[in-house]
């Protein structure tokens, strides 16, 4: 029988450069973004790297050296990348992808630097997403380094001291009351808010803060803008003694300030003598986080990919310079790369980094596509009188069957509202998936990276700052909503039928890819997706051994692992899709074309490695959930034969006694095991899928062997392009 595994033909010649990434992440024709990348890179690998190398992270305080980075960001266009042209920005249209690329470049060297630059965007985001026209114009202008020599800096303050807001963002203790409300004049508000872990707070000039009403003349919660010059207390608090991201400033601030009601983000109406904010704090936060979380996921992705070059160099050079290790000897030329485990583990780090980057950038691009559609949707709904809130929700809900029908028919609907529904349902999954998997699983893989560098890995001198990158990943997994929050969100959004209809299509699409590119193991991925879908449908209807529903919000033991499994699938799928883009466009680029065959083989092998691991993870998770909530039968229950029973049956069915297993003897003894083996009645489909899936993993270890040859052969630069 012929096999689909290819013989080895070509290996990777050089590390994938910008031209390769531009194709994979789809910005070959976006010169604005390519320039942004280069510009941010010069700051990251210059001043940022020098600060880290000189030990600037060894203090919790916000020092002048750390503050100098803000000016560097301004000068290099990092700060203004998030601004629209009228406020001194230079990138047209939505900026999710641009900010993702910027954070990726900074985090390649230091996550804290990325956070410092992003926190300013986070502070402005509530105003950008939900602010009034006046608020937007006012603050965007003041924050623009193009328009001001000393631009304002902001902080975003949601989290509060224990026992208040953390993961549960509803438990606000910060309060807003009416300080003064003169007839015919704008009400003055008194804001009391204590923050915990507020980024940028060491220097912020203004804060966007979440508060609840402490006054019956104000309805619900809202976000307000606080400025350092407002009358009252604007206490920055002391520096948080965080062990990570030390190039960003974090403190626990205290605010007791009087501000005009015009500082309520998004404005307000007055109804029956009550101030009714146009947006409550949850609505603002939802609009903000769903975009900014993707960027955080990309930070960890960058760190994984940044670990590849220093690890290759360390492994290859490990024994050079020794008296007995002569040039030309295997020990000299290959160093630790002689050892298979070193190659295989590095490949897993690399494949995870690629899959994480593919997923994160896909999510960022998705939001760029969604943003204008969202504006169109808002305008259309307003024109229909469906406004916002429940009526808007109901109006959109009605369109869901049309959306599903369009997806099933592989048709792009003309109605922008339906297009929005489709994209939105995917974005609601991709955002938490990128945040959760990239940072959570990414942190685990970064630990592998550290360990691959031996003792050096755990020192401050380690090239590529690997230990900092590993520990920093834990913060990336935590802030802007820790893993539990992402899993909780996924457990709802991934059951949206509009999303699931797309998911179903993707299975078929992967099979087509597998037909043309079998070595990607796209087929294994498709089977794993099928198994996930089967398991979800099963769990949505099944009950546990005690008759309790399995798929429900309080049952995090069911919903959360399913969310994790989905993330594995989405990231591996995205890596396959990006590799297909490379297959289609790589040869058109002269510099990519030169080493195209080796490059393509290597990425194909990375796909296979990642798909194989994914299939393994998904199979394990699904099996645990499908069977793990049933009670194992014991020797007293049904499912086992009694010896007497068998003896009497023997006369009717000759031979049964010798064939039967799981027999309870007359004296009560039984075979040495927990009970009669579990029967699979009703689970035949799952069983078939499971064994099919195991078979689909065929070849993924061969891919690892092949890709390992690339690690040995690939040419790397003489030194890292940033100091250590």
């Amino acid at each position: 029988m012929r096999t689909t595994a290819r013989p080895k033909t070509a290996t990777l010649k050089t590390l994938p450069g910008d031209d390769v990434h531009q194709i994979l992440w789809r910005f070959s024709d976006r010169f604005d973004l390519q320039m942004l990348v280069n510009s941010v890179r010069s700051v990251a690998r210059g001043p940022v790297a020098r600060l880290v190398a000189s030990g600037a992270r060894n203090t919790h305080e916000w020092t002048p050296e750390k503050a100098s980075l803000l000016k560097e960001f301004d000068a290099a266009g990092v700060t203004s990348a998030s601004l629209d042209a009228e406020y001194g920005g230079y990138i047209d249209g939505p900026k999710n992808f641009a900010l993702a690329l910027s954070a990726f470049e900074l985090a390649w060297v230091d996550g804290g630097a990325a956070t410092a630059s992003l926190a300013g965007c986070l502070a402005l985001a509530p105003i950008h997403e939900r602010g009034t026209e006046e608020q937007r114009a006012h603050y965007m202008k003041l924050c623009s380094p193009t328009l001001n020599a000393e631009p304002l800096r902001g902080a975003f303050c949601l989290t509060e001291p224990l026992p208040y807001v953390g993961v549960e963002t509803g438990l606000l203790s910060g309060k807003v009351r009416i300080a003064e409300w003169k007839e015919g004049e704008e009400p003055m508000l008194e804001v009391d808010k204590r923050g915990r872990f507020t980024t940028n707070m060491g220097f912020a000039n203004f804060v966007t803060a979440a508060v609840d009403s402490g006054d019956e003349r104000i309805k619900g919660s809202c976000m307000v803008i606080l400025e350092e010059t407002d009358p009252g207390t604007f206490d920055r608090g002391s520096a948080t003694k965080k062990m990570v991201h030390q190039l960003s400033s974090t403190t626990d601030p205290i605010f007791h300030l009087t501000v005009p009601a015009s500082r309520i983000i998004g404005g307000y109406e007055i109804k029956d003598g009550v101030i009714v904010p146009n947006f409550n704090h949850s609505e603002v936060i939802e609009a903000v986080f769903r975009r900014t979380r993707v960027t955080v996921g990309l930070m960890t992705a960058a760190k994984l990919l940044s670990a590849v070059e220093p690890l290759l160099r360390y492994h290859r050079d490990r024994f050079r310079g020794g008296e007995t290790t002569h040039p030309g000897s295997v020990r000299y030329e290959l160093g630790l790369q002689q050892k298979e485990d070193v190659l295989h583990r590095l490949l897993e780090v690399w494949a995870t980094g690629e899959a994480a980057a593919s997923l994160g950038f896909a999510a960022a691009r998705l939001f760029d596509e969604l943003d204008p559609l969202e504006q169109e949707k808002t305008a259309l709904l307003a024109a229909q009188g469906a406004g916002k809130g429940m009526s808007a929700f109901r109006a959109m809900r009605k369109l869901e069957p049309d959306a599903i029908a369009a997806i099933r028919a592989h048709r792009t609907p003309d109605n922008p509202l339906i297009r929005y529904l489709i994209l939105d349902s995917a974005a609601n999954v991709f955002c938490p998936a990128a945040k959760l998997w990239n940072t959570g699983h990414g942190a685990n893989e970064l630990r592998e990276a550290v360990s691959l560098m031996g003792g050096y890995g755990i020192t401050e001198d380690c090239p590529g700052f690997l230990v900092q990158k590993w520990t920093d990943a834990q913060l990336e997994a935590t802030y802007e909503g820790p893993e539990a929050v992402q899993r909780r969100q996924l457990s709802v959004t991934m059951t949206n039928e509009v999303f699931l209809a797309q998911f179903q299509n993707w299975i078929g699409e992967l099979r087509v890819i597998a037909g043309e590119h079998p070595a990607t193991s796209a087929c294994a991925l498709a089977t794993a997706m099928q198994m996930w879908l089967w398991t979800l449908r099963h769990l949505q209807n099944a009950k546990d051994a005690d008759g309790q529903n399995l798929y429900q919000s309080s049952r995090q033991g069911v919903t959360f692992p399913m969310a994790d499994a989905l993330c594995w699938l989405l990231s591996a799928r995205q890596l396959v899709l990006d590799t297909m883009e490379l297959a289609a466009k790589g040869r058109d680029n002269a510099s990519v074309a030169e080493g195209f065959d080796g490059l393509m083989e290597f990425y194909t092998d990375l796909c296979s490695i990642q798909s194989g691991r994914t299939a393994g993870e998904v199979g394990r998770i699904c099996a645990e959930l499908v069977f793990g909530y049933n009670r194992h039968v014991d020797w007293t229950g049904e499912g086992c034969f009694h010896r007497e029973e068998l003896i009497s049956l023997e006369s009717i069915i000759p031979g049964i006694e010798s064939m039967a297993r799981d027999v309870l003897e007359t004296d009560g003894s039984h075979p040495p095991k927990a009970g009669p083996c579990v029967r699979f009645n009703g689970y035949e489909q799952f069983q078939a899928l499971r064994s099919k899936l195991d078979g689909c993993i065929t070849g993924s270890q061969l891919a690892k062997d092949r890709a390992g040859e690339s690690l040995v052969a690939v040419m790397i630069p003489a030194a890292l392009d940033y100091p250590a």
């Binding site: 010649k13 050089t14 450069g17 910008d18 031209d19 010169f31 604005d32 390519q34 320039m35 942004l36 990348v37 280069n38 510009s39 010069s42 190398a53 000068a75 290099a76 266009g77 203004s80 990348a81 230079y90 193009t146 001198d461 090239p463 680029n589 002269a590 510099s591 990519v592 030169e594 080493g595 040419m715 790397i716 630069p717 003489a718 030194a719 890292l720 392009d721 100091p723 250590a724």
Partner: protein, 266 residues
């Protein structure tokens, strides 16, 4: 008085890359050169920064960046260089490696400069590196100047001052760390720059976006340049080789001492 400054600049592999000579189908080459990240030739880059500085101080002046390089690689390099200073690009598609013949490169560059629409040859300052980081022969720019009929030529330039009467005072490097001061009446002149005195300008994506309006059409229009294949009798690596070593917290004097000892010892 204003200048038309044509800066000739090739591209070279990023200096951190491992450069390994190999024999390719077209003769000697660097291993995987097309795939390695490239930078603007550092000597010529200094010339570009000086040109931009001069153009800013002399109103009405214009800077042209004239480059013969593989188009796809040049485009990547320009994503950074276009952010640093304002210029108009004149691009020629062809190899930029150290193994091409400088006379061929010079005639291609001279022809491209002659063809620049609206170029005032009487106001032309021809800038470039006094040598390239690829070939290091220091011959190209002089030949471009000769082909354009410019006989006022200066090499190893570190400073240029424009006098009130339009004269050019030029500092050229000579032996022993000294400079020779020359004065010429004015343009046209050839200046092959050493390092000059200006730092590398920071990136500005805004400047980059403005330059891109002319850069992309120029790249699309770039014609293949005729640079001949030459037979090399032999090519060899320098005898003295030293592997890159990254050191931290070592004073400059110590580094210098170590390098001197290494030179003496070999």
């Amino acid at each position: 008085m204003s200048y038309h400054i044509a800066v000739c600049a090739g591209i070279v592999p990023d200096p951190l890359q491992t450069l390994e000579p190999v024999s390719g189908p077209q003769g000697p080459a660097l291993k995987n050169e097309m795939m390695l990240p490239a930078v603007l030739d550092p000597w010529a880059a200094h010339a570009l920064y000086e040109a931009s500085h001069l153009a800013k101080n002399v109103p009405g002046s214009k800077v042209y960046l004239v480059s013969l390089a593989p188009k796809a690689k040049l485009q990547q390099v320009l994503m950074t260089m276009a952010q640093k200073v304002a210029f108009e690009l004149v691009a020629l598609d062809g190899p930029s490696s150290g193994f091409t013949e400088s006379a061929d490169v010079a005639s291609a560059l001279a022809a491209a400069i002659e063809a620049i629409p609206g170029l005032d040859r009487s106001q032309l300052l021809l800038f470039g590196g006094w040598e390239s980081a690829a070939r290091a022969a220091g011959t190209t720019l002089a030949m471009v100047g000769e082909r354009l009929g410019i006989t006022e030529q200066f090499q190893g330039v570190d400073a240029l001052k424009v006098g009130a009467d339009g004269s050019l005072e030029i500092l050229e490097r000579v032996e022993g760390g000294k400079h020779q001061v020359s004065v010429c009446a004015g343009a046209p002149a050839v200046l092959g720059w050493a390092t000059g005195s200006l730092p590398e300008p920071p990136n500005s994506p805004q400047t980059g976006m403005q330059n891109m309006r002319t850069v992309m059409p120029a790249l699309q229009k770039a014609k293949p340049a005729q640079v001949g294949a030459h037979a090399f009798l032999s090519v060899s690596l320098p005898k003295q080789q030293r592997t890159t070593r990254i050191v931290k917290d070592v004073p400059a004097a110590e580094v210098a001492r170590e390098i001197a000892a290494w030179i003496r010892g070999s």
